[in-house]
């Protein structure tokens, strides 16, 4: 059975990350920054990635990383979710890093581990581990790439873009420098103000091939599986913030001569939400533990599908309750609740919707669909 608790090392890491986020990334700062052209705070990223080593947690020590693992990475994501922090962590430290680890591209890992650069994986944020290898980009005989990938997360600040593409001999993974000729990035206006998306266009961009048909599909799938499984921890953090903030508000806020939090209907809804979040915590830890084992067998895949199917909806519900139970205040731009609502809703679509992951359970748990 998985270890579903947090180790003391993990709790120390959490405390360190939380301290940084409390200093650098209060809701007011997130709000102020999120409509600017540079929604990511480079100072915050440097501190997290370089000083805390958070970006290289899953990178082995010989490549400059912390040699920790995905359980620790998940704890960082919990805290990033709790802060609705705008950082390229999911795109760079989870998705791109997992691809580079799979490809064994040590030279590209080093600057990520050191927190000097970030990288992006050129898939839409909605890409899921169950889909076919993407066919939107093609490599020509000279090895240059052409094509388009829409809604790529964390693309804007990435120094390296990892591109799944169809090469001459089949699916392959390439690295393209973001400064390469023929590479263009077009920002999109995103529902989630804290995770900017951009479209990637490649016109004969020079690229370095990292993996070919034998390994590329498996590496990409492992990355998406890792992303989906760990995103559950981010969703847990979002949900926990929403519940805690709502509870605090309702203890303070008085109506009809009583704290609003003393009204039984509100209490029962929050008790149910708390129970769902307890479930999300167990499911997210289970997925992180399974992924950390390095085993990609059916138990790990099942753990990911369960966590992402459950946590995606739980975070949305928590954020919706947070807005509702704050009343009018929760509808204002000034209050941070909306940042979490938007993050939760976008996260629900990210790396496979809950419905997509439930559908995967049909095969994983032997619950066949009607003929």
């Amino acid at each position: 059975m998985s270890d579903l608790l947090y180790s003391s090392v993990e709790e120390d890491l959490r405390a360190a990350v939380r301290a940084v986020l409390t200093d650098h990334c209060p809701p007011s700062a997130v709000l102020a920054r999120c409509e600017t052209p540079a929604p990511y705070d480079p100072r915050l990223w440097r501190t997290l990635a370089r000083e805390l080593g958070a970006a290289g947690l899953q990178i082995p020590e010989e490549h400059g990383g912390a040699g920790a693992g995905l359980r620790e990475t998940a704890v960082v994501l919990e805290e990033l979710g709790r802060a609705a922090a705008p950082t390229p962590y999911l795109g760079s430290a989870v998705l791109a890093t997992t691809v580079l680890l799979g490809c064994g591209a040590a030279d590209l890992l080093a600057p990520l581990a050191a927190g000097e650069q970030s990288a992006a994986l050129a898939v839409p944020l909605t890409a899921d581990p169950w889909a076919d290898f993407p066919a939107g980009v093609r490599a020509d005989a000279a090895g240059t790439l052409s094509g388009t990938v829409t809604s790529v997360p964390d693309l804007a600040g990435a120094a390296t873009v990892l591109v799944p593409a169809l090469g001459q001999d089949g699916p392959a993974l390439y690295a393209v420098e973001s400064t390469a000729a023929g590479l263009a990035r077009t920002p999109r206006t995103s529902l989630d103000l804290t995770r900017p998306l951009a479209d990637l266009t490649l016109h004969g961009a020079p690229a370095r091939r990292l993996a070919g048909p034998d390994t590329a599909p498996g590496i990409l799938r492992r990355a998406l599986l890792t992303g989906a499984g760990l995103l559950a921890s981010e969703q847990l953090g979002v949900a926990e913030w929403c519940l805690a903030t709502t509870v605090d508000h309702l203890k303070q806020r008085h109506q009809f001569g009583r704290p609003v939090g003393s009204f039984q209907a509100v209490k029962h809804r929050l008790a149910d939400l708390w129970l769902d979040i307890a479930g999300a915590r167990a499911a997210a830890r289970n997925a992180a533990d399974a992924l950390a084992s390095g085993d990609d067998g059916p138990e790990t895949v099942l753990a990911v599908a369960v966590a992402q199917a459950y946590c995606g909806d739980t975070a949305v519900r928590a954020a919706e309750e947070c807005v509702q139970l704050h009343g009018g205040i929760g509808m204002t731009w000034e209050h941070p609740a909306h940042l979490y609502l938007k993050r939760a809703k976008a996260d629900q679509l990210a790396l496979g919707t809950p419905g997509r992951h439930r559908a995967a359970l049909a095969g994983l748990a032997d619950l066949p669909a009607p003929a």
Binding site: T189, S190, L191, Q255, R258, G330, K345, A359
Partner: protein, 393 residues
Amino acid sequence: MSAAVEVRERVRELLAAHDPATTDRLDFLRARFDAGLAWVHFPEGLGGLGAPRSLQAAVDAELAAAGAPDNNPRANGIGLGMAAPTILRYGTPEQQARFLRPLWTGEETWCQLFSEPGAGSDLAALGTRAVPDGDTWTVDGQKVWTSGAHTARWAILIARTDPGLPKHRGITYFICDMTDPGVEVRPLRQITGEAEFNEVFLSGVRIPDAHRLGEVGEGWRVAQTTLNNERVAIGGQRTPREGGMIGIVAATWRDRPELRTHDLHQRLLRGWLQAEVVRLTGERLRQQLALGQPGPEGAAMKLAFARLAQELSGLEVELLAEDGLGYGDWTMVRPDQVDFLGRDAGYRYLRAKGNSIEGGTSEILRNIIAERVLGLPAEPRTDKDVPWKDLAR
């Protein structure tokens, strides 16, 4: 002569005397008011004929068919729907004569200064103070969720005139001049990015006692007339099958087969079913109303509508998958009127969150249904007999 015949006769006379094709818009509207065809159920001299309210629809239709201008009612919803019935019921003859005609013609629009940040659903806990000084009142406080405050000429306002009384008893109702130098209006940005509403800061605003509506300390009772008219307006909208949010989701479903999954299909079927049943519930309510049997479903329709709009708009974003990640525009704008459905899926999703908060939260509506419809006992109240100034806040 039956009321219906008389009304029809009046319409004919109005059109004969003021050819819409050649009459100035405002002149026509004033003439229509003076002919008693503004709101036929109002008294004569105040834009009406004391006729049954049900005759109004025919008047509107006939005048529209003749090419007459209307008074652009959507631009003055608060004035027409809430201020006017309150002035009619509680206003002095002087107030009625002064305010109703320009209100109806749209020359003067109105806003509502009821909600406060510190009160929320407990509207009667409001803290805006009005202090008498000879024959004027000085008002200080903060109001919120005020639509149209930046364009309104007048406001209906409730303020506390006696903090020593229990909260419902120390409130007085005023008409507030929005051009008073003590009135400051600031747009209130919402989670959609736009600012439909305003915050209104009142600092030493002077209101003549002649602009008080109802007796001193009777403001809560007066405000009930205003609020009851708000509820009726909300409950009375008719929607055709697939009207509203479900129509948008169903159209996307039909247009984009590549988005379909069994999960989404089952949820769409449930959503469609729910929407159809809400529509039938509303239709049943309207049939009861037409027979003069207003059912308690009125308050409940808003609850049902909010639940449905939120569920369907959330489903729509999921259905759109990658397209659901986008958002049209976060630029702060001040829209002239609310359009729940007009923009993109992200906007619909966010805006629908307000449906269960504005105009009575779903929690308050459930209390109302439980107590007034089902007759369940009220909760123990600790705030009824306590002086407002001593209430926990």
